[in-house]
């Protein structure tokens, strides 16, 4: 798939909760071809940060010509993003990387934690009513279910404090969910420790599992080699930005 470089227009940019923002960009060429799990690298010209910032695509609407990014405020780059208004321009490079393998006919379970839930929205939309398992720290962080509801068959929620859904981590809830549903494939995105737990259970149950990785990257197109790792089962050198970010779980854990 050809990588594009376009000046996108901010359609909207607002806080979902104070720490998590949603930006909708008019980028029709990218909206048309981006796949779930792929990402874009964005940069505001004249901004204070030097490098582009990679973000997974949380949704794409080819008819409206828009892509949606959901981002957590973590530093200078995201602070700069949050300060942007409708009609402002931002340079977008994408679609980048290799996304989830869409398995039509599968009963998919998507497991997400924190801002890692973002690409699962786009994936859920493309799949046939998947089951979702999402985790957050508190009730405030479970807003994700609103984005997922239109596409999900069922949404299981865990919170660290038990204020919504089941108390504890997603991984702890996973065995019961697998018992309740005939799951034939798992896709997960979130903290490494969570994905590792998911991958271990999936392996034990013999369910194919793919994980979406996050690593610091400078170029986003496979040239700087900042984000490489050795595949666990193959030993092959992978670039997270180009060969991934989505990999078979057995290559990561």
């Amino acid at each position: 798939m050809k990588k594009l470089l376009v000046d996108a227009v901010v359609i909207s940019n607002e806080a979902v909760i104070p720490a998590v923002w949603k930006m909708v960009l008019w980028a029709p060429e990218i909206a048309l071809c981006v796949q779930p799990g792929q990402f874009v690298a964005i940069r505001k010209s004249g901004g204070i940060t030097f490098l582009r910032r990679p973000f997974s695509v949380a949704d794409a609407d080819p008819e409206q010509g828009t892509i949606t990014l959901i981002y957590r405020l973590v530093g200078q780059g995201t602070a700069e993003m949050a300060a942007m208004h409708a009609d402002e321009h931002i340079n977008v490079e994408g679609p980048l990387g290799t996304g989830f393998s869409i398995r039509q006919g599968d009963k998919a379970l998507l497991v997400g934690g924190g801002v890692g839930i973002a690409p699962l929205i786009f994936l859920a939309r493309k799949l046939d009513r998947p089951v979702l398992l999402i985790g957050g720290k508190t009730a405030e962080e479970t807003f994700w279910s609103e984005f997922l509801e239109p596409y999900a068959e069922k949404i299981y929620i865990t919170t660290d404090d038990g204020s919504v859904g089941r108390k504890g981590f997603t991984v702890q809830a996973l065995p019961d969910i697998l018992a309740e549903n005939e799951i034939t494939g798992i896709s997960t995105c979130g903290p490494m420790i969570m994905m590792q737990g998911v991958a271990e259970i999936a392996a034990k149950e013999g369910i194919p599992c793919e994980v979406s990785m996050e690593k610091r990257m400078a170029c986003s197109i496979g040239v700087c080699l900042g984000c490489t790792f050795a595949g666990k089962s193959s030993g092959k050198r992978y670039k997270v930005c180009a060969d991934g970010p989505v990999f078979p779980a057995e290559e990561v854990f």
Binding site: L5, R52, G222, V223, C224, L225
Partner: protein
């Protein structure tokens, strides 16, 4: 772009423009094919190739800094054999000179590597004696004039290709190094490689990079690079490839005026993957505006 105005010969390599993609930031060229016509650029300088495959350094390898970035990749590459069998055949078809950047652990190994790469499809070698991120090879050779000369001699002995030696800025007197490699037979000199630096996370009190220190690149180093290019170009007769922090055509023109015959774009490729092409277009328009018919006429024309 006026082809005649921009074409040049650098150390015997025919180039369509004086602007290249710098080693370590340009992959093997094909990675940029979606963004520009890679058949129309000056040259592709490959990621550093070593005798054996290298996985590179552990831990975090890139970090953003003010107007630039640190990297401590540690020369990850598939090794010369895989380069020749799987990568070179794919890039041979590009109608742009391929300069292969090489690193090794001893002067003898540099020579053997050069011999391995004395093949079709390789336009020239860029000898990396300046990588700050590896213990063996790399910067050990880049900070001692005798060691740099010995590497240069060995490479020259084993290749029929033009040899460009890439200098490190992490020295007291860059002209000493430049003269040493020129005397040893270098056909051209490229500079600068990255400047050694570091960054610390003030919450965890740990270095940001797994390797603790790394190489600084990006616009932050441009004035240093420009100064060293100017000093070097005055000190040697061989042509100079200037790089370090170039992000726009104006930067490139400064390097040419300082005495570089050609330039390369490094970290800025990450920001603007069309930079190599756009900078060449910018230089061409500048020459047209100034009424200069050939880009080489600009080289070293700084008025001091």
């Amino acid at each position: 772009m006026d082809k005649k105005r921009m074409a040049l010969e650098f150390a015997g390599i025919k180039m369509k423009t004086p602007v290249m993609g710098a080693s370590g930031t340009f992959g093997f060229g094909l990675e940029y094919a979606d963004f520009m016509d890679i058949n129309g650029i000056g040259a592709i300088i490959s990621k550093g190739i070593t005798p054996k495959p290298r996985p590179g350094n552990a831990g975090v390898r890139v970090a953003e800094t003010p107007a630039g970035m640190l990297n401590s990749i540690g020369l990850e590459n598939p090794g010369v054999e895989a380069f020749k069998t799987t990568i070179l055949p794919k890039i041979k078809t590009i109608d742009t000179p391929l300069i292969v950047n090489i690193s090794a652990g001893s002067a003898e190994e540099y020579g053997e590597l050069a011999a391995e790469l004395d093949v079709d499809g390789v336009a020239a070698l860029e000898v990396n004696i300046s990588c700050p991120n590896v213990r063996e090879g790399g910067i050990v050779f880049g900070t001692k004039p005798e060691a740099a000369a010995s590497v240069t001699r060995n490479v020259k002995l084993h290749t029929s290709k033009p040899v460009i030696v890439k200098l490190s800025p992490n020295v007291t007197d860059i002209t000493c190094m430049a003269k040493a490699v020129e005397d040893a037979g270098a056909d051209a000199i490229s500079l600068i490689n990255t400047i050694t630096g570091m960054a610390i996370d003030i919450e965890s009190w740990q270095p940001l990079l797994g390797n603790i220190t790394g190489g600084l690149s990006g616009p932050a180093i441009k004035p240093v690079a420009l100064r060293m290019v100017w000093q070097t170009a005055r000190a040697v007769k061989v042509p100079v490839l200037g790089l370090g922090g170039i992000s726009c055509w104006q930067d490139a023109v400064e390097f040419l005026l300082a005495g570089a015959s050609t330039v390369a774009v490094g970290a800025y490729n990450f920001v603007n993957p069309r930079a190599v092409e756009e900078i060449a277009e910018g230089i061409d328009a500048y020459l047209a505006r100034k009424g200069i018919s050939q880009v080489s006429e600009l080289v070293g024309q700084i008025k001091v």
